[in-house]
Every structure is written in structure tokens, then in C-alpha cells.
Symmetry: D2
Subunit: 352 residues, 4 copies
């Protein structure tokens, strides 16, 4: 019953097998390994983007920060939701990698950017010319930090606005595949067909040890990205171990299967909790995260039984009257079992 | 016969086994995994440094750049040899992480800093007060980029000079263990007892997939380093896979055995080549790298037989009279076999 | 009738006389001029701060950004009002000079920080440790961008909160003297006695050509500030021309007289407009700026007669029904005359 | 007898008169003043560059650092002589403004870049692709820090090399006019006709209080420069006082007359010293600086009589045998008089 984060889960066994296979003998370093050639070809195929530039890094923050640095100059601003990972959880890595750009925080329910909020911000930015930061890039997170989903048309509405103002667009896809299977669309539809210029295509939260791909649909800044990656110390010498993970991920639909499993467990958990008296959802359960409130007494019971998760927001306390509703973030992963979910739901139910 | 770099070698099988073991079940993320606790304790023990702060990152450039950023403010300079990795091979990562510090390039044979060159530079730095950059940190590489070794007293002479000028000291130990076994000293003797304040303790070039430890003997800036690591996007969510590699590395003297193997192969290669007519060493073979010149005809023969390595310097050409001496960098690793070395030597001998 | 900004006003004639005097013969450069010695002594005396470090720069943005860079590391955040000059009008200079720190935008009426908003932000910052930016510095603007005044106790409430959280404090005093004469307090009371650690003490908007002093009450980071100033290219070689302006400013209470004149004209303008039917104040007129709404027809009349000022907010239009209320920012300076004000008020009155 | 630097000299009286004239009444701020329009037109005319972008800043370091930031990305290197001002005297301002670019230090006698040194550096840069910093910009200083002059063909040889490698070129013209009158050429010949893309066109060292123009012959990056200037806090609100200085400078050939005076005094000083037994020139006297050695006893006599100047190099001492030769940098300015020079020469002669 470990729901703290999808990054607390192990890697899928296929990934470790792939590493073992990749480990045989010598290999060219720094991304010149033959596995990476295959990965690039495969990603271009999957995304129907034959010219896309594809790079691997080991953390989601690196993928986001490097991509944004290629899209937004230091004197401009990145538009993002105020609850976006790039704002809340990266200790100003985007500011570091862009060389001091701003983040303009947008509003909207369920951690989704309200187009009106974006439009207002665009209208305000650079109103006084050189005195203000300029319009930079739009960064959308899908699935969001609240576990919710932008529809393709919702994404398109935002990217259209961005492009009208010459702002390139970035998709933080730390949970890209969870969104993909939830929407039932193609990777191309979820990205460039929806107006996305650059993607952080996550693998770590969905069964890899630590690999994310940066995909630039317009390769014009590919060389710049390579230099930024090296200079940021994110170019791996023994790169084949990143390549091998990504290769395994994309093989035989592993990525899709793992994301489906995680989403299914979240749906099960969400349904289960909603049958509980006094439980309520903070946000729709669109992907692999459940954001739900239930009585303090039920929290105590679950935590005593070993369940691990975070309060959401963080500043709630187990002390106080047992029937007060406290809220939790419960993340499911590919390795979450139906039994774990059932056990958790039972504990909550019986103590509510 | 793959001598391009020690990072072209595979990881040691024990490392992959360790990953598989670490992969069981859930684990706390971002460095809070129990394996990391053990790694920290073990490194403190090995280095006889009970208060040292210990952090893992996945690239040597990250280790160097983050350590230097904690030692050198943006308006100061890092003293290093002009052939140091931080100067020549990191695409200005130290400049990026320090926020724009300079690197002052020092001279000395065999890629070792001549104390006179360092002293002259110290005397020149900040001569005009606020108009110049200030004295920052000293960065020593041992084993050097030319495969040579500083003795402990040579290191001490440099670190004493640095400390007289209030400059903290950094050891780029990408090949730390190769130096350690070559010197036959203790880790403490090679670091803090030799006046080193911060170490990049490398594992990647000696049998790991990609892990380096940053060790700060004075923990005063530990929190700053944690923030810089996160902000630089080098804090891994699934950190246990870094921890597990380092744990395996330090277990049962694996690190020492692997480094000895690599050094032995280099010694064998060096001896073999020196029996060749017209061959000569560019630098002493102190560790796992051989820097040697031999006739062009012998290069052709070796390369045709599949040998891989770099010219040193890079700008030499296979075209021209066959008896002209061209120079090569030949790196051995833990996985280099005695047979490979023999084969290479034979090829060179018979074509010289 | 030029009310666009107090920086559209000329310098006071005494300032030019001082420049002419300072121009005689040779002088030591880079701040070693004897006039600067006098300026430092005088500012220490005026601020009752015998140990304060005092530096001159030529723009308010430089004063703010350099001071904040000394107070806030790159991985922390500057708390400021969302309408602060450092946020809205400096094209991310604070982000540039701090090396990529964030600005956390606080709310509150009349461009004054609501302590509750600051407290909430402090409670939220760094809630997840290394994943978030850390608590940095507080920056208060007095007189604010809305022409309003913090009382000394309002300032103290904010600086106390800051210091409880180990956040150093900065006063953007671009209009310091306007605040000073409005409050009728001493410079010490408006700064360190109110909990301020560093001040941008403005002169440019109050009769100088272009000089601002940075005052650090704790000189511990004085040398760092000197290096940052030089590195930011804000150390003047012919520094005496900055010193001479500041010397003239502080002589015979010129600074106080000029600020009083400007405040008096604003009060006159505010009173005059408020006698106009349909006019209303957006913010109290505490200093030298009047923020007022009056009918579109009156705007047309004033602008046709040559009056210059900005709409506030900027995105209003002269097109539309004449009796609609549009809002303006009307800045008075030392050189604004009672006649100009009367003429403007008449124009508005007769067209309202 | 004040020969420390041309920045110890006063401003020319015409400059102060111009300030007084410019001070009348209100004026648009931030560079929108009508005087600036005239300055831009005049500079375009003088440089025969109708499309050039022209900006004013107040320090030479700002001009250099901002120009270089537009020419060299953070992952590239600026080629300059190892004695260039951008390397030795700006406390890493170029590194700060470029966001962490390197400076590659070139050799050559008399502080002039030897083309062979530049060519070698170009051949070495980026030899290993992404691992190295890339080829950035060339920065030439004319008149150099050693008071020497590049001929137009010497400049062209360097800029041709640069452009063959796609490196844009910068001229540090802190003493532009001294070079211009020494060469007897046109501003166009000294800049774009000699292959220069961007110029720091200095005024401060030649009679202004503190103004330098940045001229970009290709206006493609003009807006970027404006944003960098603002973000660097170098956009003056009361900009007219910069404009007025530059306008006065260019009026009635003032700039040319002042530079000729300074050069003439240096020539007189150089000739005079060379008639002294035991005196010798370190570098040719091409402009307004004399770099000369003469006996210690003569230094003592001059300094006792009140002469001010720097030793060159700095680390020489007045203690020791009187006939030992010590070297000095003696800078003349527009305000140096023939009498001062005669007096200095006499003192040296009689004590040598």
C-alpha cells in the first residue's frame, strides 16, 4: 500500500533484462550507441514525426528544464499552471537552465490552465515593451499534477493561443502514457497534432529506472539542445543504459500496458473510496492518481496498517476529531496490485 | 581491442545483480532509500571521515560542476591544469554551475600542475582588487587526463599553496581508484590528508553504469549542494538505483579489484609497446591509460584489425609515410583482457 | 503638464553646478574619489548607521537587483508585491542578478503587501524541502508603485515576519525621500529601525540626473556587493560624477525640499481633481503620485491641451462614451509647478 | 602629472554645457529623448552605416559585455588577447552577461593578437563536438591595452579568419578615437570595412563623463540588445544626459580633437623619455599611452614630485638599487598639458 508516488515503484523486470543484454561487450559512448539509433527511429515512428530530434536524459526535471531553455530566452516568461511541476517541484531548475526567465503562473480548476487566464496573461506580458519580460513559452502538463486530463481540444485551444502570440509550446509528459491511454488517442494526436512543439516524454514514473526522452518536433534547435544537455552534465558517457531502458519500454507495447495497469488501479481505488461514506474526490480520477478526502479516523487506520501517501495539501494533521475530512494524494503505478487497492479501500471504509 | 575510453566498457555483472536486488518492491525516493544510508556510512568509514557529506549523481561532469559551484563564487576563478577535464571536456559546465566563474589554466608536464605555475597565477589573481576575478578553488585531477599520477606530496604541495590563499580544493577523481591502487595509499591519504576539501569519487569509468559520489569533508555546505543538485536536475527520483550501484562497488573490494585489473592491463600494454622498435611513451603509464607513439604503418595495421582508440592529440592523420610516429591514447578498463592487449601489441610490433 | 513620470523631470540646477565643480582637474577613479568619502560619511550620519556600507550606482534597477542578489541565493525566492517595480518593470533584472531566483508575488490593496499574504507564502515556501525554492528576501517598496505609503508599524509587521523566517529585508526606496517627508520620520526610522537590512536609496526620481545609493546596514556582504557591482558593469570609472550628484542632493536639505515640493504638488492635484464631478481616487495620494479616474471627455481635453501621462491600467482607450471613467497615473516631481497643476485640474473640471 | 589613466581626467567643458542645455524642461525617458534620435542619426552618418543599431550605456564594461552577449552563446568562447580588458579588468562581466561563456586567451606581442595564435585556437575549439565549448566571437581591442595599434590590414586578417569560422567580431573601442586619428582612417574603415560586426565606441576615456555607444552594424539582434541592456540595469531613465554627452562629443569634431591632443602628448612624452639614458619603450607609442622603463631613481624623483602612474607590470617595487630599470604605464588624456609632460620628462632625465 505504497501510494506516495509512482516513483516509489520498482522498474519493470523487462527493463532490467534489457540492461543486462545491453551490458555485453564494449559500446560507443555519449549517445553514439546503436541502441539509441533504434530508439530514435522508434520514437519518430511512434510519434509519426520523421524529422523529430530525440534525446534521453535521466530525470524529468532535466527534460523539462532543457526543453524550456530551448524555447524561452532569459528575458521572457514561461506560462504554466501555478501547480505545475516546473513551478512547484523543481527548485527553480527552469530558471537555472533558461538563465533567469520568469514563470508566469496561470489559474484554472483541477490544475488545468484556464484559457481565459492564459489570454489575460498574454495581454499583460510585455505591455510596456523593454521594461517587461517578453512572451516566452507555454508549458502544459498532461496528465496534470492533480491527476486530471486535458482533452485534445482543450490542449489545442491553449496551443493555438500560444502560437498566435509566437510562443512555442512544451508538454510536460512525466505521465504522458497515462494520458495517452486515458484519451485513447495516438502519440501524434497528443503532441504535434495538438500544437505541441517539444515534449518531455516520461518513462521513470511508468516502469523505468530513470529515463525521459526530450522530443523536439522542429529539429532547428537540436544542436542547441545537445550543447545544453552536455553543459548541464546530463549527457551520459555510458549512454547505452538509458537507450536500453527506453528500447525495452517501447517494445511490445510495454509502456502502454504499464500505464493501463496504473490507470486501472487508480480507477478501482477511486471507485472504492467513493463508496465510502463521507469520502469525496478533490479532482476527477483521469489517470493514475486519486485525490480524495475521507475522515481522519480512516486515515489513521490506513496509516497504522502501513499505507503510505501524502496529505494534499501537505499541511494537514492527524490530530483532531476523527470525522473531519482530510485529503490525500494516492498515486498508483504499474506495480500497484488490485489486492493492495482493495485492502486500502477496506481499511478506509471500515474506519469511516 | 576497444581502447577509446574506460567508459566504453560494460558494467561489472555484480552491479547488474545489485540493481536487480534493489528493484524488489517499493522504496522511498530522492535519496531517502535505505541503501543510500548504508552507502553514506560506508563511504564515511572508507574515507575515515565520519562527518563527510555524501551525495550521488550520475555523471562525472555533474559531480565536478556541483562540487566546484559550492567552492567557487561566480566572481572568482577555478585553478586547474589546462588539460583538465573540467576545462577541455565539459562544455563549460563548471562555468554554468558556478554562475559564470572563470577557469585559470595552469601549466605543467604530463597534465600535472606545476606548483610554480599555480603560485604565479595566485600572485596575479586579484592584483587589482575588484577589477579582477578573485581567488576561487583549486581543482586537481588524479589520475590525470594524461594517465599520470600525482604523488601524495605533490598533491600536498598544491593544496598547501591553495589553503595559504584561502582557496578550497577539489579532487576530480573520475579515476580515483586507479590512483588509489597505483599509490597504494588509503582513501583518506589521497584526499583530506592530502589537503582535499571535496572529491568527485568516480565509479562510472571503473565498472559502474553511471554513478559518482560527491564527498564534502566539511559538511558546512551540504545543504547548498543538495539544493544545487536538485536545481541542476541531478536528484534522481528512483535514487535507489544509484545507491545500489555504489553499494555493490564498495562491497568486497570490487572497486579496488577492478581498478587493479585496469591498471595491470595498461602496464602490460605499455611494456609491450615499449619493446616495439620506434615506439615511445608520451607520458609515464601510471594508471589505466597508455599514451604512446608508434609508426603510422602500425596504426594502420591495428585499426584494420579492429582496434579502436583516439589519436592524441586528435589532429593526426593516417595518410603519409608509414614510418612516421603518430600518437595514441589507449585506455584500459576492468574489462580489458590480457589477450586483447597481447593482440594489439603483436599487431603494432609486426607492423613497426 | 508632464505627468508621465518623475524621471521625465530635469535635474535640479544645483546638481549641474556640483558636476561642474567636481569636474576640476584629475581625480581618482572607480569610487576612490574624495567626494565619495564625504558622501559615505554623510549617509552614515543621516541614517545613524556608522558601519553601513554605501555604494552608488546610476539606475534604480541596478540598486535593486544588486542588493537583492546579496540577500537571496539563486535557489530561493524574493517576496514582493505583485505590482512591485522589481516584478513589473525591470525585465527580470532581479532574476538575472540573483542567478535565477524566483519572485513570489504577494497581494494586498494599494500595492502594499498584506501581512496575511506574506505569512501564507512563507508557510508554503520550502514545504517539500529540497524540491522547492527556499525562503529568500523580502522586498518592500515605500512609497509604493501605487503612490501609497506604508506606515512604520506596517513595515515593521512585515520585516518582523521576514526575520522570524530568517529572511533579510530590502527597501526599494526609488521614492525614499517622498516617503520620508510624508511620514515625517527619520531615515533611521524608515529603514533599520523598521527592520530593513538593505536600501535602494533613490535620487534619480527626485532631482538627480541618475544616482541611487545602495546602503547595507550590515557590512558583512559589502565586498560581495562591490564585486557584483563591478561584474554587473555598474562601477563607474569617472565615479566622481555620481558622488558629486549625491553630495549635492544631501547638501542643505535639497533632497528633502525637492521631495516636499513633489508631494505638495500631488496633494494639490489630488484635491483639485476630487472637486471634479465624477472623479475618484484609485489609491490614497500619499506621496508624489496621483492615481485617479475621471471622465473620458476630460482625458481628451487634457491630452489635447498637451498633458502627458499614462493610463492606469495601461489598456484603456480614448474611444467610447465621453462620460465613462478612465483612470490615470499622474506623477509629480520637484519641477512640477502649481500652475501646471491648476491648469490640468481646470481642464479636467471643465470637461467633466 | 596624473598619468594613472585617461579616466582620471575631467570631462571636457563642452560636455557640461551640453548637459546644462539638455536639462531644460521635461523629456521622454528611457532613450526616447529627441537628442538620442539625433545621436543615432549622427553615428550612422559618421560610420556610413544607415542601418546600424545604436545604444548608449555608461560604462565600457557594459558596452563590451552586452555586445559580446549578443554575439556569443553561453556554450561558446570569446577569443581575445590574454591582456584584453574583457579578460583582465572586468571581473568576469563577459562571463556574467553571456551566461557563462568562456574566454579563450590568445597570444601575440604588444597585446595584439597573433593570427597564428587565433588560427591555432580555432583549430582546437570544438574538436570533440559537444564535449567542448563552441566557436563564439572574436574581440579585438584597438588601441590595445599596451597602447599599440592594429593596422587595418592586421584587423582584416583577424576578422577574415573569424568569419571563415562563422565567428562574429567585436571591437573594444574604449580608445576608438585614439586609434582613428592615429590611423588617419574613417570610422567605417576602422570598423565594418575591417570586418567588425559590433563596436564598443568609447567616450568616457576621451573627455566624456561616462558614455559609450554600442553599435551593431547588423541590426538583427538590436531588440535582443535592448532587452539585455534593460535586464542588465543599463537602460537609463533620464537617458537624455547620456545622449547629450554623446551629441556634444560628436559636434564640431570634438572627439577627434580631444583624441589628437591625447595622442600628441603621449608622443611628446615618449620622445622625451627616449632621450633619457637608460630609458626604453616596452611597446611602441601608437596612441595615448606610453609604456616605458627607466631607472628606479628616476621613478622616485617623479613620484616625490607628485607624478601619479602605475607600474607595469604592477608587481615592481621602489626599493632596491637606483639604477635598476622599472617599467611604467603612463596614460595621457585630452587634458594632459605639454607642460606636465615636460616636467615629467625633466624629472626622469635629471634622475636617470
Amino acid at each position: 500500500m505504497w501510494f506516495t508516488s509512482d516513483n516509489a515503484a520498482p522498474a519493470h523486470p523487462s527493463v532490467l533484462e534489457a540492461l543486462t543484454q545491453a551490458n555485453a561487450g564494449y559500446s560507443a559512448s555519449y549517445g553514439a550507441d546503436p541502441i539509441m539509433e533504434d530508439v530514435t527511429a522508434r520514437i519518430r515512428e511512434i510519434f509519426e514525426a520523421p524529422d523529430a530530434a530525440v534525446y534521453l536524459v535521466a530525470t524529468g526535471t532535466a527534460a523539462n528544464a532543457l526543453a524550456l531553455a530551448c524555447l524561452c530566452p532569459p528575458w521572457a516568461t514561461v506560462y504554466c499552471h501555478r501547480n505545475a511541476h516546473v513551478e512547484e517541484d523543481e527548485c527553480a531548475a527552469p530558471e537555472f537552465y533558461t538563465g533567469g526567465a520568469k514563470l508566469t503562473l496561470l489559474d484554472g480548476p483541477d490544475a488545468k490552465i484556464d484559457p481565459a487566464s492564459f489570454e489575460a496573461a498574454l495581454g499583460f506580458t510585455a505591455r510596456a515593451g523593454v521594461h517587461n519580460v517578453q512572451k516566452g513559452a507555454l508549458s502544459i502538463t498532461n496528465i496534470t499534477e492533480a491527476g486530471t486530463l486535458y482533452s485534445l481540444s482543450e490542449m489545442k485551444a491553449l496551443t493555438d493561443l500560444a502560437h498566435e502570440h509566437n510562443c512555442p509550446t512544451h508538454l510536460d509528459g512525466a505521465r504522458f502514457t497515462n494520458a495517452l491511454v486515458a484519451l485513447g488517442c495516438t502519440p501524434a494526436e497528443l503532441t504535434w497534432k495538438a500544437g505541441i512543439d517539444a515534449v518531455s516524454f516520461g518513462g521513470t514514473k511508468n516502469g523505468l529506472m530513470g529515463v525521459e526522452a526530450i522530443i523536439l518536433f522542429d529539429p532547428a534547435r537540436a544542436w542547441e539542445l545537445e550543447l545544453r544537455r552536455k553543459r548541464g552534465a546530463h549527457l551520459f558517457s555510458k549512454h547505452r543504459y538509458l537507450s536500453a531502458q527506453m528500447q525495452a519500454y517501447l517494445k511490445d507495447d510495454l509502456w502502454l500496458r504499464l500505464a493501463r495497469q496504473a490507470n486501472d488501479r487508480a480507477a478501482q481505488l477511486s471507485r472504492g473510496l467513493m463508496q465510502t461514506p463521507n469520502a469525496r474526490l478533490l479532482h476527477p480520477t483521469d489517470g493514475n492518481g486519486v485525490f480524495a478526502g475521507f475522515p481522519r479516523e480512516a486515515h489513521k487506520a490506513a496509516q497504522e496498517a502501513g499505507a503510505k501517501y501524502y496529505f494534499w495539501p501537505f499541511n494537514q494533521s492527524l490530530d483532531g476529531p476523527g470525522d473531519e475530512i482530510l485529503s490525500a494524494r494516492l498515486m498508483c503505478s504499474w506495480s500497484t496490485t488490485a489486492e493492495e487497492v482493495d485492502e486500502f479501500v477496506s481499511l478506509v471504509k471500515s474506519a469511516s
